[in-house]
Amino acid sequence: MSGTSRQAFLIHVLAQLLAGSRRVAVGAQSPIPGSAAFLARELQLGPERITVLGSRRNNDFTEGGRELFDRAAQGRIDAFFLGGGQIDGQANINLVGIGDYPQSKVRFPGSFGSSYLYFLIPKVILFREEHTPRTLVDKVDFISAPGLSEPGTYRPGGPAALVTGRCVFTFDRDAGRFTLKSVHPWSSLEEVREQTGFAFYEPTVVPVTPEPDERSRDLINGPVRAMIAETYPTFATGLVT
């Protein structure tokens, strides 16, 4: 790579996935997704209205925290990001804990709004930087939100892609499986195979994830850093492009 930091790279990758999504919401503790939303807006890829939880300026909710959920249920939010302590091959996500519930031996914070938003927001992008057999597992220990639903379930939303520190997967809701879309320049197909605990489709030729061009790097360095600083000052200060 020509000197782009990993953070800037991932911001750029997530921004590309927001193409065509006009109204984007970003949840708690999400500085990289938040920056990606601002970058996508600067690049005019689609996002116009961005709501960042924890922000004052970029959070226009006046009905309390429930307004995010009410807007999502009405179809007023087009894209959202979710993470997970564990993510499995069927795009089930676990934000609750490792081991037998309820006495989890490692307890995560909890499901937050995932059990609901995963059903209702058309494009949910999963983002988990740590890509190891510990985080990308065959079967999650607890389903905070399922990747797939029974036929007849009201579900306009669901997983679209999974971005990690090694690669980009897309999710096919009909096949119920991830497909490897591209591998980041510092990783390899062998490494992705080795570090992924679930089976996925592999294309014949695996492309390298494109890195940000100079314009994107300048935007990350300038307006994006300034906008994310309001909510994540420490992150913004430490952000290297």
Binding site: R107, P109, Y154
Partner: protein, 276 residues
């Protein structure tokens, strides 16, 4: 109505074994009142985080005052996991009712409306639902009729807390609170049998004399006790008024890693509050 009481009198409405609703950290947390509760040795609380909590829940759990916890998440935010919460879960020391944010909001809204339940989309097929025997799946009675046209939806029973406890910006002389756009505080107060609030400042007048202030007011009709507690959210912040005390929170996260160091931290913290 007993308004403008001392902190000690205000929190005396909170008795062992009752259900207490507390807001998320971006809203205004009654930390001074929480320390007063811990001093009084309140116990066996059923805590409802609306819909998530951090330091407040973790401290109450560490101090042994929580029997049951209903929450969508407990986290120390950027500082990572909530240590006493995680330890209590591992030890099976508390009964955990895992929820999802909109379910807690909706169940309080049901209570606000005097309804027995509210339906909510999503949740189906999750282990959150599997571990909530009090939540039921019903068929949408207004769905399309015919074979294979069922529309399952989750029904959530109303949550009716005994007390809503929070810290907000202002109270006026008539006992109205000013909460601005922190509307989850209004939902909590509407849904709960009683509301106990601490405030940063006392406004000399009545919010309803000023249409702009009135728009952010919570009427005294819902409020049972108010105590004036400047910097009452410390060491947490009050959005727009003061920032969180990062050094104290860092110290907490380190200390709370074990019960012994947590106990020592808590003793110091309570003494420090007395001195302040």
């Amino acid at each position: 109505m007993a308004l403008h009481e001392t902190l000690t009198d205000a929190v005396s409405l909170i008795r062992p074994g009752i259900t207490v609703a507390i807001p998320p950290e971006y809203c205004g947390i009654a930390m001074a009142a929480t320390c007063e509760l811990i001093r009084r040795g309140i116990g066996e609380l059923h805590l409802v985080a609306v819909p998530q909590s951090g330091l407040q829940a973790d401290m109450l759990i560490g101090a042994g005052h929580v029997k049951t916890l209903e929450a969508a998440a407990i986290t120390m935010g950027e500082r990572g996991p909530a240590p006493r919460f995680a330890a209590a879960i591992k030890a099976g020391a508390i009964t955990m009712m895992d929820a999802t944010c909109p379910a807690i909001h909706a169940a309080l809204q049901a209570s606000e409306k005097g309804l027995p339940f509210l339906p909510l989309r999503g949740i189906l097929g999750s282990d959150v639902l599997a571990h909530r025997p009090d939540w039921q799946i019903i068929d949408n009675p207004f769905g399309t009729k015919g074979p294979d046209s069922s529309d399952p939806i989750v029904a959530l029973p109303a949550i009716r807390p005994d007390v809503a406890l929070f810290h907000c910006e202002m109270a006026d002389r008539e006992g109205n609170l000013w909460i601005g756009r922190r509307r989850e505080l209004a939902t909590m107060a509407h849904a709960s049998a009683m509301t106990v609030a601490t405030v940063e400042t006392i406004h000399d007048g009545n919010f309803f004399d000023d249409e702009i202030l009135a728009a952010g007011a919570l009427p005294a009709a819902y409020v049972d006790a108010i105590a004036h507690a400047p910097r009452g959210a410390w060491p947490l912040g009050m959005p727009g008024t003061y920032d969180a005390d990062g050094a104290t929170l860092d110290g907490y996260c380190l200390a709370a890693a074990s019960q012994e160091t947590f106990d020592a931290w808590l003793t110091d913290h309570l003494l420090h509050r007395d001195a302040a």
